[in-house]
Subunit: 117 residues, 2 copies
DNA sequence: GCATTATTTTGATGAAGACGTAAGTATCTC
DNA sequence: GAGATACTTACGTCTTCATCAAAATAATGC
């Protein structure tokens, strides 16, 4: 049985990840941590205001932390909440395995029939 | 580096999973596969029409397959696309590990200082 | 065939999301 | 302090989402 977790925290993380621009931002931070808004939004096909809103959603979900240095705001990846998503998805792994096993059984059965027709 | 995957398929899966009602539906199917709309919507705090739309989104994302038997429509879990999410999230695992290592180093450093002040 | 049950289609509506523009506040540089 | 730079706030708009209601379709059982 898969444990159904409806906690607000996990929900925010899932929602934050449900946009490829935001996943792209996390990717960018995983390559170079501590980038400014200007650096990050240079990679997104939108205005800096659009990028800012996405970063705020990531921050509210706890996936990004920020630190103000002078007039710049540095953004850092926090990978911990992603672990929650990985754990949730991992619960379904055994269902995929079962499916693979069934497929294997089926293929072997086919093979048997070919040998002894 | 985390591979940024913007394919439409993955995007649909992420969006479909970004709602706890839909994750709950997957959970229900993982417990008892092949349930009808009526059976499933009995567990959700909404009308059957609301539940139907959620099921359609899951179906479009490939997370649920359906089979019509008489006047009933049976819903089956397809766990395979969830694997894509697990893989994506798994890419961030090493960042969590790095963080743990740094924390461990820090704690050991503290311990050293206590011993030799 | 007729009443019942299961599902679908087709709007309607209010909320939330994803942008954008324009003006405002710090901060740095000179 | 004047001008450039980095970010923010405060809107407006357009789209998508979540939900419900009512009517339509389809299958079952007697």
């Amino acid at each position: 049985m898969v444990t159904y977790n409806s906690s607000m925290e996990v929900e925010h993380v899932f929602k934050a990840l449900a946009d490829h621009h935001r996943r792209h931002l996390l990717d960018l931070l995983s390559q170079t941590d501590g980038q400014t808004l200007t650096e990050l939004c240079a990679h997104l096909p939108m205005t800096r205001f659009g990028a800012m809103k996405h970063l705020r959603i990531l921050e509210e979900a706890g996936l990004v932390t920020t630190r103000k240095v002078g007039r710049e705001k540095l953004h850092y990846l926090n990978p911990v909440p992603i672990q929650g998503v990985a754990d949730w998805a991992g619960q379904y792994h055994r269902f995929v395995e079962e499916r693979m096993d069934r497929l294997e059984d089926y293929l072997q059965e086919l093979q048997q029939k070919e040998k002894l027709p």
